[in-house]
């Protein structure tokens, strides 16, 4: 295959390579544990390696979709209604890269933790990767929905089979919660296609064709709510977050990494890709509600994290708080906010992924996740302490680390919308410093209170190899975010522009904006 051919089909190859890998892993003999792990890692690494060129081949300065493939898939009513249509823009580019990167890390990170039914586990991890990549590259709503839901199946098994003591409850809750939200979105998807069909006679589910679909205000509101519910559950936004702590705490380490690092991003990605461009007026109308829920999420998540005795639960609630920042950034509808939101998503993928891995690593040594069972382990595990410190700092938004860039941009954006938003959101950042540093202090510093903690093994080479790329990622994104920002800017800008245009055209919004100006 020539480079050109490869470039054209690269997204398809990346998306389905893990699925093919999963089939291979399933066919391997059960006893060959080492070979199974190696094969799974190899497939994930190959997928990552193939996705890296996307970053370089990606043309900056254009908002459109790139690397597109669009072929008929299913004909309905004599029309090629459902299409296999994929492509990426500046928004999904980073989601794809984050997915291939974190899946590779997560697979390498589960070598020690997973000892039972290896074949099934690694095959499911690879299937999960295909599902997630599909969500981020799909440009046809049916294709998108297929990946969006199909991905639940492997995650459900990963939590339910390899998880902690309450794994079944957590897995079923995760599945049903997400499913409940998405089924209404399915109705909304079909309804949009039907409206388009009745208006133009063309039956299509293509995202591009459905942008700018004319609809009555009431209809738009209902459809917006159907989409928003699906994404809000996925993010998860307060008050739809209750599945998250259960799923996170019960999932095996790699499951948590993927959940926090990637699955949650599908919610915010969904807002940016579908909800807002499809329904700009309704998005504007509901912006105050979404902003409020975002801010409540930031503060509530942080406060609950503050009092968690369990490290994993603490990290889980910190995700609610960090994703709140992301939602806030999207719904203030300016470039800074939206870009910040996207950077926050990437940064959160690095830092929270690393935090779950770190928690998992000491759990494998001591089989407890309670903060009170630790203390002063820095002395025994200096490498561990160093990584933990860097990641903590990234998570609370120290300058020159990834968290800072995202949070700062979102704060700027929300200040532009209303200073109050910024003030409230900033309080969340302060609280995050409290719970993270407090955990750091109680776990790593102080006297060694328990005998077992004095003799803990420091990080092995494999564990360092798993963590160092994440640390490198946080530093790169923090020190030199330009390559990221310049790639995402045109696409993010075009989404924001849709809303701003709609706002300018919509009299109600115009009046309130004018009233604000008069004040």
């Amino acid at each position: 295959m020539g480079t050109e051919q490869f470039q054209k089909h690269i997204l398809t190859i990346i998306t389905f390579l893990p699925l093919a890998g999963a089939a291979v892993v399933l066919l391997m003999p059960r006893q060959a544990a080492g070979a199974i792990k190696a094969a799974a890692l190899l497939v994930a690494a190959a997928t990552f390696a193939l996705s890296v060129p996307l970053f370089f081949w990606f043309r900056t300065g254009t908002p459109g979709m790139q690397f597109t493939v669009d072929v008929p898939w299913i004909s309905l009513l004599g029309q090629q209604a459902i299409r296999y249509s994929v492509g990426i823009d500046g928004i999904s580019l980073f989601m794809v890269l984050l997915t291939t990167f974190l899946t590779m890390i997560a697979i390498a990170g589960s070598f020690a933790g997973i000892t039972d039914r290896l074949r099934e586990y690694y095959a499911l991890m690879l299937m999960l990767e295909t599902g997630m990549l599909g969500v981020f590259v799909a440009l046809d709503l049916v294709l998108f929905y297929v990946f969006w839901e199909a991905m639940l199946i492997p995650m459900y098994f990963i939590i339910g089979v390899w998880g902690g003591p309450r794994r079944i409850y957590a897995a079923v809750k995760f599945f049903i919660y997400t499913m409940a939200g998405s089924l209404l979105m399915l109705v909304a998807i079909i309804a949009m296609a039907v409206m388009k069909y009745q208006a133009t006679g063309v039956l299509t589910f293509s995202v591009q064709d459905l942008y700018g679909l004319e609809m009555a205000r009431g209809t738009q509101t209902l459809l917006f709510l159907a989409y928003a519910l699906a994404f809000a559950i996925k993010v998860p936004m307060f008050p739809f977050h209750t599945w998250l702590p259960d799923a996170h705490v019960e999932a095996p380490t790699a499951g948590s990494v993927i959940l926090a690092g990637l699955l949650l991003k599908m919610g915010t990605y969904g807002f940016l890709r579908f909800c807002i461009p499809f329904f700009p007026e309704a998005s504007l109308a509901f912006a105050p509600v979404m902003v409020a829920l975002g801010i409540v999420g930031i503060i509530y998540g942080a406060l609950v994290a503050l009092v968690q005795p369990d490290m994993k639960k603490l990290v889980a609630y910190s995700s609610v708080s960090h994703l709140g920042v992301s939602v806030l950034g999207i719904f203030v509808f300016n470039l800074q906010g939206a870009q910040g939101s996207l950077v926050q998503m990437i940064s959160h993928g690095f830092s929270t992924g690393a935090l779950f891995l770190l928690v998992g690593m000491i759990y494998e040594r001591r089989h407890t996740r309670l903060i009170e069972d630790y203390g002063g382990i820095w002395a025994a595990m200096p490498k561990y302490g160093a990584v933990f410190l860097i990641i903590t700092m990234a998570s609370i938004g120290l300058p020159f680390l990834s968290g800072f860039v995202g949070e700062w941009l979102v704060l700027v954006g929300s200040w532009l919308a209303s200073p109050w938003y910024a003030v409230l959101a900033a309080s969340g950042a302060i609280l995050s410093a409290c719970y993270m540093l407090w955990m750091l202090q109680r776990v790593l510093q102080g006297p060694v209170t328990r005998e077992e903690n004095g003799s803990l093994r420091d990080l092995s080479f494999r564990e360092m190899a798993v963590l160092v790329p994440l640390v490198a990622g946080t530093i790169w994104l923090g020190v030199y975010p330009k390559p990221f920002l310049e790639r995402m800017e045109p696409s993010v800008d075009s989404v924001i522009r849709i809303v701003q245009t709609a706002g300018a055209e919509s009299p109600a919004y115009f009046q309130s904006a004018a009233a604000e100006e008069a004040r």
């Binding site: 299913i74 309905l76 004599g78 297929v146 199909a150 049903i176 109705v187 079909i190 039907v194 069909y197």
Partner: protein, 557 residues
């Protein structure tokens, strides 16, 4: 084994003989006007070719089973399959040579599509049965033969355009099923199922007969076109006799496809009947009922359809809600699947209600997807139950995937498909059905369908939860059983592959079901008032012309 081969070909030939008969009939002079000449009798036989061929094959299978009892264990299933294949061939040949319909019976693309659905389902049911009936010591000739007779009844129901023929089809479908439900005579549950099914089934049949009588009293005939004409001429709800008659017919069919509130027999019968019989009945009886419903409703749609739609709406909503709610509480897997099949009848009714080409096509696709899935699910259940069908409850399934990872994976696939989760066929079936329903503006009903699917997810997940996530209970020795025998393992694997691929590659199936639906939608229409009783069916493309506007079928008619 020479006699085995001979029997094999004999059965195939017995069914396939209908094909040359079809050609011969076509070559002959056109039917004489009026009267029941030999020629028009030939036509009638020709148009009933699918059902007639299957009946012939079933008779041969029964005779072989009677005179060669030892064939029951190994040879007979293959002979039955030969008969089914022969029927398929005869159907195609007959449809090719003389695609058309009398006013009582039609051999249109809908009949053919439906025949293939039923024949495929019957073939799979036979394959799933082999290991089971051998294990349960009920491998007798009648078993396969009864299944084939019952399927022939289903074919007749789908082709019928007259209430009397519909009644014949219904009886031919049901009576073998009553016997099959009680086939595991040793088990009390099975006997109870047979009796219960028979009593309630007979009751439902009497509704159909009485309904037909009322219709006859009102419009002077029992043909669908007469009903359609009657309801058009008499106007909206003007004639109580016709309305009451049609309602009674609807009740009889609702009983057969298990719509709430006519579903009470379902859980007991599904649980008590031998599992492969349950699998067979869950798809074939349901499909036959829906085929008849589609034709009736399409015919009726020309007249007063408003009040019917309200009725169907309510039935559909009640069935989806009640079926799914009760399934939540089930501990026995066969009962769970029984309630799930009730719920699915509610979803299928969405397609009938939409009534468009699109809706009927979605319904056919749904039946295909549901058939594959339910046959597979019951097939796995039949295997896991072990000798004597002892292990049928969810607690019995605990940790079963550790002993049988293959069966566990297959059952998980079937459950996800039943729950309508992509990429499995069940999802695509729901997608097309919802699309058809939303086109006609049934938003409320679609939302009910969606919300009840969330309930459904819970109980379908429970099966995979107990199998994969719970630890095995204290090992009962006989439960450990062997892996599924090679034949049923292969059948189930093919079904699972089908469930996975049918949705992803649904275009060919959709094209085919759309063609069939265009024919079904015409039921009871445009009966030429001229001399010939024979209504010529144009090739589907031509027939499509009035329906297709431009390059698309209009959404709103």
């Amino acid at each position: 084994m020479r006699s085995g081969k001979a029997a094999f070909f004999l059965t195939f030939a017995a069914a396939a003989v209908w094909a040359p008969a079809a050609r011969a009939a076509q070559a002959g002079p056109p039917a004489a006007e009026g009267g029941l000449s030999l020629q028009s009798l030939m036509e009638l036989l020709l148009l009933s070719a699918p059902a007639a061929a299957l009946c012939t094959a079933a008779t041969v299978v029964m005779l072989i089973g009677a005179f060669w009892p030892s064939s029951g264990r190994r040879v007979l299933p293959w002979i039955a399959l030969a008969g089914i294949a022969g029927t398929g061939w005869a159907t195609v040949a007959a449809a090719d040579s003389r695609s058309g319909s009398l006013t009582t019976l039609s051999l249109d693309p809908f009949t053919v599509a439906f025949a293939f659905l039923v024949l495929a389902a019957t073939a799979v049911a036979v394959l799933v049965s082999v290991n089971y009936v051998n294990r349960e010591e009920m491998a007798r000739g009648e078993y396969y033969s009864l299944m084939m007779f019952s399927a022939a009844g289903a074919l007749l129901m789908a082709a019928a355009e007259d209430l009397i023929l519909l009644f014949m089809g219904l009886e031919l479908l049901s009576i073998p099923l009553y016997v099959l439900a009680g086939f595991a005579r040793a088990r009390e549950q099975s006997r109870e199922a047979a009796l219960k099914y028979f009593l309630l089934g007979a009751f439902a049949s009497s509704f159909l007969v009485f309904g037909a009588a009322l219709v006859f009293a009102s419009v002077g005939g029992t043909g669908y076109h007469q009903m359609a004409l009657g309801s058009m001429l008499l106007g909206r709800g003007a004639d109580a006799l016709l309305a009451a008659g049609a309602a009674m017919v609807l009740i009889a069919l609702a009983f057969k496809v298990a719509l709430v509130p006519f579903h009470w027999w379902t859980p007991d019968v599904y649980q008590g009947a031998p599992t492969p019989v349950t699998a067979f009945m869950s798809i074939v009886a349901k499909a036959a009922g829906f085929a008849a419903l589609v034709r009736l409703v399409s015919a009726g749609a020309q007249g007063d359809s408003q009040s019917w739609n309200v009725l169907l709406w309510a039935l559909s909503a009640a069935t989806m809600i009640w079926g799914n709610l009760l399934a939540l509480a089930q501990q026995n897997v066969k009962r769970l699947l029984a309630y799930s099949s009730i719920a699915h009848a509610g979803y299928l009714l969405l397609g009938v209600l939409a009534g468009t080409v699109n809706g009927i096509s979605a319904l056919l696709f749904y039946l295909a997807a549901y058939g594959l899935t339910t046959l597979g699910a019951f097939g796995v259940a039949a295997f896991l139950a072990g000798r004597g069908d002892r292990l049928e409850t969810l607690p019995d399934y605990r940790g079963a995937a550790r002993r049988h990872p293959f069966a566990g994976a297959l059952l998980a696939v079937f459950m996800f498909s039943l729950a309508g989760i992509p990429p499995f066929a069940g999802f695509f079936a729901k997608l097309y059905l919802f699309l058809a329903a939303l086109e006609r503006g049934y938003v409320g009903l679609t939302v009910i369908a969606v919300l009840t699917s969330v309930l459904a997810v819970y109980y379908y997940l429970r099966v995979s939860v107990v199998m994969w996530m719970e630890e095995p209970r204290a090992e009962p020795a006989e439960a450990a059983g062997p892996e599924p025998a090679r034949l049923s393992a292969a059948t189930l694997a093919i079904l699972a592959a089908g469930v996975t691929l049918l949705g992803i590659f649904s275009s060919p199936v959709l094209r085919w079901s759309e063609r069939a639906s265009i024919a079904a939608e015409q039921t009871g229409r445009a009966v030429p008032a001229g001399s010939s009783e024979m209504r010529e069916a144009s090739p589907s493309a031509e027939r499509a012309a009035p329906v297709r506007g431009g390059d698309a079928v209009p959404l709103l008619e």
